[in-house]
Symmetry: C3
């Protein structure tokens, strides 16, 4: 049951992430291939990097035709209906949050199976969930958004620790669902109330740096 | 026979790609190491990424001394004779197209051997052929050229599908040669006639994006 | 004995590299997560990339809790005391040089064990030592410093060749220590005397490039 929910939300995430990548391609005036590559990368690169680190080759996101078709389909759809999709940009934040939760749960689940330590589990949850966005921003020649603002990768990393705790207390199914609920709640609350991570009070002067 | 041709064109590609990386290093005013790293990466990083994804470690491009020497030699040559090489920049497009075809054929060939699905085969052809150029542009802090203009990675991806079709109809040898011919033809025709992939009609206004 | 020294200097390097990543995060006005990710990446990404290329998965830097805690601790410390640490930026160059030497020795040692050719050993020494800094700069949307100026990755690559030569003449222990001494000496001398790699005499005009 939990696996079914995770799998369904995984598709929600792939589609929402691909849309976010394709919207970035539109901002940067890329061509159709740019839309497909940025959509594909945003949706699937986090899981690919996680699998490479854990020694799962070829990575699941490369061997799964349905995942690839979902990512490419959503990217092509965004290209075709760019103005409409762009107008509903804020609505995409909700499925995006669901995907963030599902990706974090999946990443933590696989990392624990492979015997990583707690920091490794948190890192794999964050990389699965936010790695695609980092690749998207690097390809767009920008500093990754997740390093600059909003509670995003942090929510996923905390989700990894929630997974670990629940796993040993209540078992895998509860851990999966509890992770998703925690991450989605944390993400939506942070958006609603404008929570941000701390940053330096005054920027230190760094002449010529 | 087909393998011999592929191998010869592979060297043509390594040298042409390394030159393109070294020319980018010159544009960015990098030092000698910058020339070598950008030349090496442009020539060999696509194949390295492909091998990591397919679980071939250490990657062939790291264990093959001749490939490495060809890439480093061509980069050093470009450094030494920068003004001359730079003047013949447009001539390099022809060996570059041959390399694109050979790299696409090699990528598709390995991907099929490893049992990837058709989308995976097309992706591996494109990554082998265009991944090095993406790494070059990321290291130069630019949006990768292949995402913005020209038929380049797209030609390689189509080459992957040509390989697949020919492989089942005519066998591996014909598939290798047919892929190279298709990719080179598509690339040169697109250069000749200025073919581009479609892009958004009018750029959507994205204030502050 | 040599292993003990290498291990101690490895921690010196992790801490110095993490500080350098966190200082870059401050320059770019990133949030706390940005500090942790840039510190972590600068300290550990070089070794992670090396391990992925050599097929060591999960990479040691992911499975070692002490390494991760050292990197994260140094990054958080830099965040908390940014102005103070920033003021001693030049002092960090000394532990950074020690880390450069230790990372190069470790990279060459592992690469030789895995049977790489001499160019591969030099490349693994350089990637272990300078790969983290490249990731730091790519995440900061800048052209990697090591490609533009100073003798840094070059010192590590030369260290890889020193390792190889000493290994066959004097054995592994001498090779480890000799590599560290050579790299640290070369790095500090280059800083002291302002040595740079050669670059193009006059920048070739590259209109519209």
């Amino acid at each position: 049951m939990a696996d079914l929910i995770v799998d369904a939300l995984n598709y929600v995430g792939i589609i929402a992430f691909a849309v976010s990548g394709a919207l970035k391609a539109g901002e940067k005036d890329l061509d159709l291939l740019g839309f497909l590559v940025l959509g594909y990368s945003t949706a699937l690169a986090g899981g690919i990097i996680r699998d490479l680190i854990l020694g799962i080759v070829p990575p699941t996101n490369i061997t799964s035709l349905p995942y690839q078709l979902a990512a490419i389909g959503a990217s092509a759809f965004t290209f075709a209906l760019y103005d409409k999709v762009s107008k509903y940009r804020d609505v995409v934040l909700y499925p995006d949050a669901l995907g963030l939760g599902a990706f974090a749960a999946i990443g933590a689940d696989i990392a624990l199976k492979r015997g990583l330590n707690p920091l490794g589990v948190a890192a794999m949850a964050a990389i699965t969930a936010a790695g695609g966005g980092v690749v998207r921003d690097v390809l767009a020649a920008e500093i990754p958004l997740v390093l600059r603002k909003e509670i995003y990768a942090t929510a996923a990393a905390i989700g990894g620790l929630v997974y670990l705790s629940l796993y040993y207390i209540e078992g895998r199914e509860v851990a999966l669902l509890g992770t998703i609920i925690s991450v989605v709640a944390l993400r939506l609350l942070s958006l609603r109330y404008g929570w941000e991570l701390p940053r330096l009070k005054r920027r230190a002067a760094s002449p010529g740096a």
